[in-house]
Structure formats: structure tokens, C-alpha cells
């Protein structure tokens, strides 16, 4: 209609011109002179432009009137066939709902995860050592470097610097540790989030002589102060210093997941900060890279120690950095949900086709009464659109529930803390867009098909019942084959994820995580800084915890397995090409090996004396021994950890003697083979994070609070973490994302399978009903029930088999989307591919059984008489 506007305009002009010519000719015939005739004709017709205008107005109204009429008609038609409408709306609601859920996750996590101003332009940059291209690089800078970047760059609107500054909040009730940051005073202006209460930090707060102030998170406000608004302006003791609270931030604000933000006033040029810049509008990351690299090259000449000999600068957006592990999975899920939507659409298309056949008579009558083809197509499309709209509304309800479900199973640590997953207007608009897309996807083919055949054919077949709709049959079969193929792809994906999760869970860690509790003990700056202070503190803690009933063994530890400590470059005398060799450093006490159940292979373990006198001896793992020393005996060799040379409170230029070799345990996540690792007496250094590992004989969770009590008994002013069991930590760190992927894809695959089963069922039932007459004759001629059953089932099986073959072929290509999620299993895993086929054959044949049985119960007399 409206898309043929131009053509119609030309037609109208031609029509009016022909009228003028005709009138002029008539005038000439009645004796009016040639040039006057034209004039008279024009006067008789009147203002041509005005007429054309009036006609156009008629068109406009016509269009609206038709749409309204079609809408009313469509609603009436759908009401008449409520079962069809309900089934279609159900299928579309599942498709649109699932798509909307995934889109809302993508929207809220990938597109707009942060509440910050222009968050897409926030950029972090790294100094990347080209000798270690697999690593992200250095992201912490000295204040001197920060100043240089801030002043010399030409690509950022502004740069902020933030330093870790965990605070110990001391109140009457006891001490509590909070994650906190010192930030440059421009931070809050940079972030662009206004405080919920109070005033934001301003430049004056950052002056060294300014009175100490702090900004608090909504979370801490609620938990610690019960949301008391009177807290603003009060003085809190943070790290022993009275500090005025100036602001509470809104709930959706947790810069670096902190609870307090203080102005950076105590810095020296050596203070380490992490930085973040906001890229100027319209600039690309590449531009930032080039500009920052220029500055970094200059800085490298001033601070040669800070820069590797061969480096580059990388710049990545904050969003990218935070969601990079999650993004490929979300895109894969988006593809999966797209397939689900296609299944739903082809399902509805099939129902529409069946309906179009049933309505052939009506359509034929409307066509013969003068309805144009395009009018009929629009009418049918409007009916599909009505279905899609209802499906969209129901889908949004499903999505509302689905989002709650998906948030519940989503691994929290993979998405920004501040991303809130909700149905926002953009998501709803997306759902509406989906309704339009689905209208075209599922409505167009049936509509074209319904009005495609010429009137003559149709009138001939109308009322005969047997042959009608035969033209649709091929298309309907194609739709079912497509549904089966798409479900196969989804099922294969889910199957591979399931196998990966199983593979992951059956990884041999090398140690037993059951009954092990880990408690991190962060120290406030200025307390327990030195190695000696830490030795005294931990000795007391270890003794007290070991004395608890139910404790089997306890050890100090600087990293939580299956992750090793920080990695350091090493110097190994007598080993050529030692450059580039790295090892993780695990600071521990003598019972570490017993706590985790790590086996000694050669030499001896660390002893209490080694620990207490901070002897420079180490135990290494098998991976280190064979990587560094090959077949040679590692016992007695020495290793220097270069990281200590730069770390505070650490031995300089210290060589450690290898005294023992232990079996490998996973120390670089579950999916990587064990890396070289050294176990050092924790009393060697005052640096690195600390905590304790406790093996219990009883249920480990029940020990958490008594362990904390013992730590507080040593010093009430330290703030141990709540503590967690290794099993829980493993779950969060390693299994939660694969499990999430499996749950979501598994759900989609099940819905897809259900829809495909409905599709198979409806097509089979329909084809049986079309062939009632034929079946009746066959029976009258003596066909056996079993034979008929076989005939119908064979047809269904052919459809399913075709879908399976196409689906398996397609899944070879499409499971590549999941390659980041699949681990420990081949994409062509025969168990998965075979299992999926078995599932589909079973479900498919089950869907065929009822229609097939109905075929065998046809009464030959009735069927023949039906004609």
C-alpha cells in the first residue's frame, strides 16, 4: 500500500491529465476553438493540485481505516480459533521472552554496566612487556608517572588515580575491615555520579593540609549504620584517624568495589596507583595507545627500573576489561536464543500455514469479492502481528521472571558489581522490535502462500477437503526439518557444556579440597608491616587455631589453591637460558603440605625451624624441578626470586636453597597444567597478602566463626575475612561460569526441543487428517493397522532424520561459538552427538505416535463417506 505511493502518484497525475484531454476534445467537437478548448477544460476540472491533494488525503485515511479494520478483523479471527492463538502466543512468548532475557543481560552487562558518566569511554592502560606477551602488563604506576601521563597526554579528558587503602573502622562494637581507596580529588567529578547524601569530594579535600574526609558506599551505610541519614558530618575512626564522613553514594555505585573513598593526600612520588582515563569524544583506543606510548618512552628513560627493555602500551576500555571473560559466552547465548526464536517462529509459521489452508474458502471469497492480493497479505500479516504482540507481552512477563532466574544463577564475579539487570525501556523496545521481526519471520511465508495461488485453482479445490493444502505440505515439512535441525544444534551445545563441566569437576587437583577452610587476613597499613611482626602474629594464630577441637592441621598461606602465589622472574645459577623462567611464590608455614595433602617426592619438607629462623630454604614442585633442572637433581640447587628485589620488607639479592620436591598440584586454575611453584617460609618477607588454611575433621563451615574468634583473641584490631571452604571457593571461581552456561543453554535446548516436538506433532496430526480419506480407502482395501502405523511413522521419521542430519552438520560449525566455554571435550564428542540424536529420535517419534495411532483408528466407512 504505502510503499507504492510513487506509482500511485504517477497514476493519479495520468488519470487527471487524461480527463483534461478528454474534456478538451469534447469542447473542440462542440465547436470551441483549439486553444480555448484547453482553457475551458481546465476551468471545468478546477484546481488540479487541490484535487490531487484531496485524493491523497483519501489515501491516508484509507490506509488507517484499513489497518483498523484489519485489526478488528484479525482479533475476531483469532478469537474464533482460540486454541491456535494460544499455542502460537505460547511459542512466541517463549521465543521472545528468552531473547529478551539474554538481551537484557547483554544490555546491562556489556553495553551499560557502569553508572559512570560516558562509561564506554573509560579507559585503562598497561605497560606490556613484549617478552611476556601473554600477560596483560603493568597497570599500577607511581604518582610521578601518573602526573606525567595526566599532564602530557592529549587523548583523555581527565585521568584519575586510585590507591588501595583498606581501612580499619574502629567502633565500640569492634574493629571491621573495609575495602577502601584513596583517590585523587578529581575522581568524583570524573565519575559524574552525584552522592545520595552529602557533598562530593572536591579539589580542596585533596590538599595535604585538608581535614580528613571520607565518602561511604550505600552498602556500608546500610550494613553498618542502618541507613541513618544523620551519619553525614560525623567523625568516624578510620585507621585510627578521626575522619569526617561527607557523603553517601547511591546504591548503584561501587568504584572498584570499595566501601570507602578517601582523598589521596598522603602520597609520595613512589605511591603506587592504578589509573583510569576518559577518552576524549570521538577518539579511538588506538589513538590513546600511540599517545600514551610516546609518554611512556620518555618515562622509561627517567625510570628505567620500571620499564622492561622492550615494551608497548595497550589501552582497553574499562567495560572490556571487566566483562572480557563473560562476553564470548553472552554472544554464544545470544546466538542460541536466536535459534530458539527461529524454532518458535517456524512453529507459528506452521500453525499459520495450517490455518491458511483451513481458511482457503474465506480467502477465496474475499478475493472474489474484490480484495486485492496486497490487501489480503497485509490482512494476514496483521493477524501475525497481533499474535506477535500478544507473544511479546507474554514474553515480557516471562522475561521479567526469567531475569530473576538468570541473575540467581549468574556468576557474580564475572560481571561488574554495579551492573543491574532489569527490564529497562531499551530492553522493552528490543522486545517490541522482536515482535515485528517475528511477524515477518513467521507470517510472511504463510501469507504469500495463502494468496499466492490463483483464484481459479482455489475455487476449484475449496470444499473438496482432500487435495487442498497439498501445496503447503512441502513448506510445512521444511519448517519441521528446520526446527529439528535447530534443536539439534542447541542440544549439542548444551551436551558439550555438560561434558565440559563434568570434565572440569573431575580434574585431579592434586590435593583434597574437602574440609579445608581459608581465611584471608588483610592488614591495615602500618601494622604488621615487617616479616618479624608477621611471624609473631601468625605463630600465635597458628598455635591457637591448631588447638581448636576438630582442627587437623593449619598453615599460613599467601594464595588460595588452585592458584599459586604471585609469579616472579627467577635467577638460577648454573642454568642457561634462565631468563624468562618464572615461578609462583607461595609463602607458607611447615604444615602447609599436610593441610592440603601434598605428597613429598624427594628431599624434605619445610620444618618449624626453617620457618621460625626464616632460613632461605624452599620446597619446589615437580613442574619447577623438571622445567628448571631437567633430569638433574634439584636438591641443593639455589634460586633467586627477582620480585623480592623490588618488594618492601623483603630480602634483597637472596638465593634460596632447594631442600625438597613435592608432587604437582593445580596452581594456575583448573584448566591449565601446574606451573613451576616454590614454597617459601612465610617469615622471609613482609610483603604479599596473607591468610591461613585450616584442615578440619568436622564439617568445615561450622569452624568459620571459631577460627575468627581465635584470630581476634590474638589481636582484636585485625579484620579477618569471613572465611570460606576451598570447595565453595572452587565452586565460585571455577565451576560457576560453566554451570551458568549449561543451565541457560540447557533451558534453551529443552524449550527448543519442546517446540520442535509440538511442531512435529502438529504437522503429523495435520497430514493424517488430510489423508483420512486415503487411509480409509487403504483400510477398505485391506491394509493392516500395523502397516498404516508404519507408513505414518515412516513419514515422521524421514522428517526427523532429515532434521538430524542437517542439525548435526550445522552444529559442527556453530559449536565454534562455544569454543571458549568448552574444555576437556572435543566439539565432535561422539557421546554428545550420539546422545542428542537418540534424544531427538525418541522425542520425535513420541510426537508422531498419537497422530499415527489416530490414523489406524480411522473408520473406513466414515472416511469414504466424508467425500
Amino acid at each position: 500500500m504505502f510503499w507504492r505511493r510513487k506509482q500511485r502518484e504517477q497514476d493519479l497525475e495520468r488519470e487527471l491529465r487524461s480527463h483534461l484531454e478528454e474534456e478538451a476534445a469534447e469542447q473542440r467537437e462542440s465547436g470551441v476553438p483549439e486553444d480555448e478548448a484547453k482553457y475551458v477544460a481546465r476551468r471545468a476540472l478546477g484546481n488540479v493540485g487541490l484535487i490531487a491533494e484531496d485524493v491523497r488525503e483519501v489515501w491516508g485515511w484509507m490506509w488507517l481505516e484499513r489497518v483498523l479494520q484489519d485489526l478488528r478483523y484479525g482479533l475476531r479471527a483469532l478469537r474464533k480459533d482460540i486454541a491456535f492463538a494460544a499455542l502460537s502466543v505460547f511459542a512466541l512468548a517463549l521465543g521472545i521472552g528468552a531473547t529478551t532475557v539474554i538481551f537484557s543481560v547483554i544490555d546491562n552487562v556489556l553495553l551499560e554496566p557502569f553508572p559512570y558518566r560516558d562509561s564506554q569511554r573509560l579507559t585503562k592502560f598497561y605497560i606490556r612487556d613484549l617478552a611476556h606477551p601473554d600477560q596483560t602488563g603493568r597497570a599500577d604506576y607511581t604518582m610521578a608517572e601518573y602526573r606525567a601521563f595526566k599532564e602530557q597526554n592529549r587523548v583523555f579528558d581527565d585521568i584519575i588515580a586510585t590507591a588501595n587503602f583498606d581501612v580499619l573502622y574502629t567502633a565500640a562494637a569492634g574493629a571491621k575491615q573495609f575495602r577502601a581507596y584513596q583517590t585523587t580529588a578529581n575522581t568524583f567529578d570524573f565519575i559524574g555520579v552525584a552522592p545520595l547524601l552529602g557533598r562530593a569530594m572536591i579539589a580542596d579535600d585533596g590538599r595535604p593540609d585538608a581535614p580528613p574526609v571520607a565518602v561511604m558506599s550505600y552498602r556500608a551505610w546500610q550494613q553498618e549504620f542502618g541507613g541513618d541519614p544523620g551519619i553525614i558530618g560525623r567523625s568516624l575512626t578510620l585507621n585510627g584517624r578521626p575522619t569526617t564522613l561527607i557523603a553517601i553514594m547511591p546504591p548503584r555505585f561501587a568504584l572498584y568495589n570499595g566501601d570507602f573513598w578517601l582523598p589521596l593526600t598522603t602520597e609520595t612520588p613512589d605511591t603506587r596507583v592504578s589509573t583510569m582515563g576518559r577518552l576524549k569524544h570521538g577518539l579511538r583506543l588506538q589513538a590513546a595507545r600511540t599517545d600514551l606510548e610516546l609518554i611512556a618512552r620518555r618515562l622509561a628513560t627517567v625510570y628505567p627500573n620500571e620499564y622492561p627493555s622492550n615494551f608497548s602500551v595497550t589501552a582497553v576500555s574499562l567495560v572490556d576489561r571487566v566483562v572480557r571473560r563473560f562476553r564470548p559466552l553472552l554472544y554464544a547465548l545470544m546466538a542460541a536464543v536466536g535459534m530458539l526464536l527461529l524454532i518458535a517462529c517456524s512453529n507459528v509459521a506452521n500453525l499459520l500455514l495450517a490455518r491458511a489452508t483451513a481458511r482457503e474458502h474465506e480467502i477465496a471469497v474475499r478475493a472474489s469479492l474484490g480484495a486485492s492480493r496486497s490487501r489480503l497479505i497485509v490482512q494476514l500479516l496483521i493477524e501475525s502481528f497481533l499474535l506477535a504482540l500478544f507473544g511479546c507481552a507474554a514474553g515480557c512477563l516471562l522475561a521479567y521472571a526469567g531475569i530473576r532466574g538468570i541473575v540467581a544463577v549468574m556468576p557474580r564475579d564475572l560481571i561488574p558489581n554495579e551492573s543491574v539487570i532489569v527490564l529497562n525501556p531499551r530492553v522493552l523496545l528490543f522486545a517490541l522490535g522482536m515482535a515485528v521481526v517475528t511477524t515477518l519471520l513467521c507470517g510472511l511465508a504463510p501469507a504469500l502462500h495463502a494468496v499466492g495461488r490463483n483464484l481459479h485453482d482455489r475455487i476449484k479445490t475449496v470444499g473438496k477437503g482432500t487435495a487442498s493444502g497439498s501445496g503447503h505440505r512441502g513448506l510445512r515439512t521444511a519448517f519441521v526439518v528446520a526446527q529439528v535441525a535447530l534443536s539439534i544444534v542447541l542440544l549439542v551445545g548444551a551436551g558439550l557444556l555438560m561434558r565440559s563441566l563434568i570434565a572440569l569437576q573431575s580434574v585431579d587437583l592434586g590435593f583434597s579440597p574437602d574440609h579445608v577452610v581459608a581465611t584471608a587476613i588483610p592488614f591495615a597499613p602500618g601494622r604488621y608491616d615487617t616479616a618479624e611482626q608477621k611471624r609473631i602474629f601468625f605463630r600465635a594464630v597458628l598455635q591457637k587455631v591448631a588447638a581448636l577441637p576438630g582442627v587437623v592441621a593449619v598453615s599460613e598461606a599467601s594464595a588460595l589453591p588452585p592458584f599459586g602465589g604471585p609469579r616472579s622472574e627467577v635467577t638460577v645459577p648454573g642454568v642457561a637460558h634462565a631468563q624468562g623462567l618464572r615461578a609462583s611464590m607461595q609463602l607458607c608455614s611447615e604444615d602447609y603440605f599436610r593441610t592440603l595433602g601434598i605428597r613429598l617426592l624427594r628431599g624434605r619438607l619445610l620444618t618449624e625451624t626453617d620457618i621460625d629462623s626464616a632460613r632461605k630454604v624452599i620446597v619446589v614442585n615437580q613442574a619447577l624441578a623438571s622445567r628448571f633442572f631437567g633430569d638433574a637433581d634439584p636438591i641443593g640447587r639455589s634460586i633467586k626470586f627477582d620480585a623480592f628485589d623490588k618488594a618492601p620488607e623483603s630480602p634483597r639479592d637472596a638465593y634460596f636453597e632447594v631442600v625438597g620436591v613435592v608432587a604437582d598440584v593445580r596452581n594456575n586454575g583448573l584448566q591449565s597444567p601446574p606451573q613451576p611453584e616454590a614454597f617459601l617460609p612465610f617469615t622471609i618477607s613482609g610483603a604479599l597478602g596473607r591468610g591461613i588454611l585450616v584442615r578440619t575433621a568436622t564439617e568445615p563451615n561450622s569452624m568459620l566463626s571459631s577460627i575468627r574468634r581465635e584470630i581476634w583473641a590474638v589481636d582484636p584490631n585485625v579484620a579477618p575475612s569471613m572465611g570460606t571452604t576451598l570447595v565453595t571457593a572452587l565452586e565460585q571461581e571455577s565451576y560457576s561460569q560453566p554451570r551458568f552456561a549449561l543451565i541457560i543453554l540447557g533451558t534453551f535446548a529443552s524449550i527448543g526441543l519442546l517446540l520442535a516436538a509440538i511442531g512435529i506433532f502438529s504437522v503429523m496430526a495435520y497430514s493424517v487428517s488430510l489423508r483420512t480419506h486415503e487411509i480409509g480407502i487403504r483400510m477398505a482395501l485391506g491394509a493392516q493397522r500395523a502397516g498404516l502405523l508404519k507408513m505414518v511413522l515412516a513419514k515422521g521419521f524421514m522428517m526427523i532424520a532429515a532434521g538430524i542430519v542437517i542439525g548435526e552438520l550445522a552444529s559442527f560449525g556453530l559449536t565454534r561459538l562455544l569454543r571458549n566455554q568448552i574444555w576437556g571435550v572435543s566439539s565432535y564428542d561422539p557421546a554428545v552427538l550420539g546422545g542428542v540424536v537418540a534424544v531427538l529420535v525418541l522425542v520425535g517419534l513420541a510426537a508422531c505416535i498419537v497422530p499415527a495411532r489416530r490414523a489406524t483408528h480411522v473408520d473406513p466407512m466414515m472416511a469414504v463417506r466424508y467425500e
Binding site: E15, L16, S18, E22, A44, I51, D54, V58, L369, G370
Partner: protein, 116 residues
């Protein structure tokens, strides 16, 4: 035929007259206008300004269908010929009976004595 004797068409009656005219067979706009004018002995003057919008409105309601055809044997000129559809025929019957009722009612009010 002085101008004063011409009567403007009543609102809504043009549609009916067009449909009635097309009952005799397909015709283009000019022919329809002339036909109405002539059969009413030039009493009814079809305003061309309302003829074409009316034609397109009727076409939009699928009461009539327009098609470009040549004017007849030998002629190269083409006109948009309108033809009555089945739906249009039904509509004409409805309009006609409505019109009959309306004129009857008006007549009874205007000339009650004559009727009695």
C-alpha cells in the same frame, strides 16, 4: 441551461451515483461525470474536485476496481476504467434502499397532505 438551475449534490449521494453509473459497465472518470450530468438532464453538476477523491475512496473500500485500458479499438489513448466489484454491487443495493427510505421520509414531512 442557466447556472442557477443546477443543484449541488447532497453529501454522500455521489458515491451512490458513481456505483449506479458503473452498473452499466466500466467507465473512466470523465465518462462517469458526463453520464451523471446527462442522465439528470444537466441538473446535477458533478464537482470534479470531489469526483476523483470519491473514486479513490470507493476503490480503497474495494467497491470499485480501477484498471488502465485503452479507449477502444484503434485508439492509443489509455484511461483508468473503473468497474463495479461484487462488494460494490452489494453496497449499491444497501445505499439504494437507504436512499429510498430517506427520500420517502423527507417527502412525507414536506408534503404531508399529498401523501394523506
Amino acid at each position: 441551461m442557466a447556472k442557477e438551475t443546477r443543484i449541488e449534490l447532497l453529501q454522500g449521494t455521489l458515491d451512490m451515483l458513481i456505483l449506479r453509473t458503473l452498473l452499466f459497465g466500466p467507465a473512466h472518470g470523465h465518462q462517469i461525470a458526463k453520464h451523471i450530468q446527462r442522465t439528470s438532464d444537466d441538473l446535477l453538476q458533478v464537482e470534479h474536485g470531489s469526483l476523483y477523491p470519491a473514486l479513490h475512496r470507493l476503490e480503497g473500500k474495494d467497491w470499485i476496481a480501477g484498471k488502465w485500458e485503452s479507449a477502444g479499438k484503434g485508439s492509443t489513448r489509455e484511461f483508468k476504467y473503473y468497474r463495479l466489484t461484487a462488494l460494490g454491487k452489494k453496497q449499491l443495493v444497501t445505499e439504494e434502499s437507504k436512499w429510498r427510505q430517506l427520500t420517502g421520509a423527507i417527502a412525507r414531512i414536506m408534503w404531508p397532505a399529498k401523501e394523506g
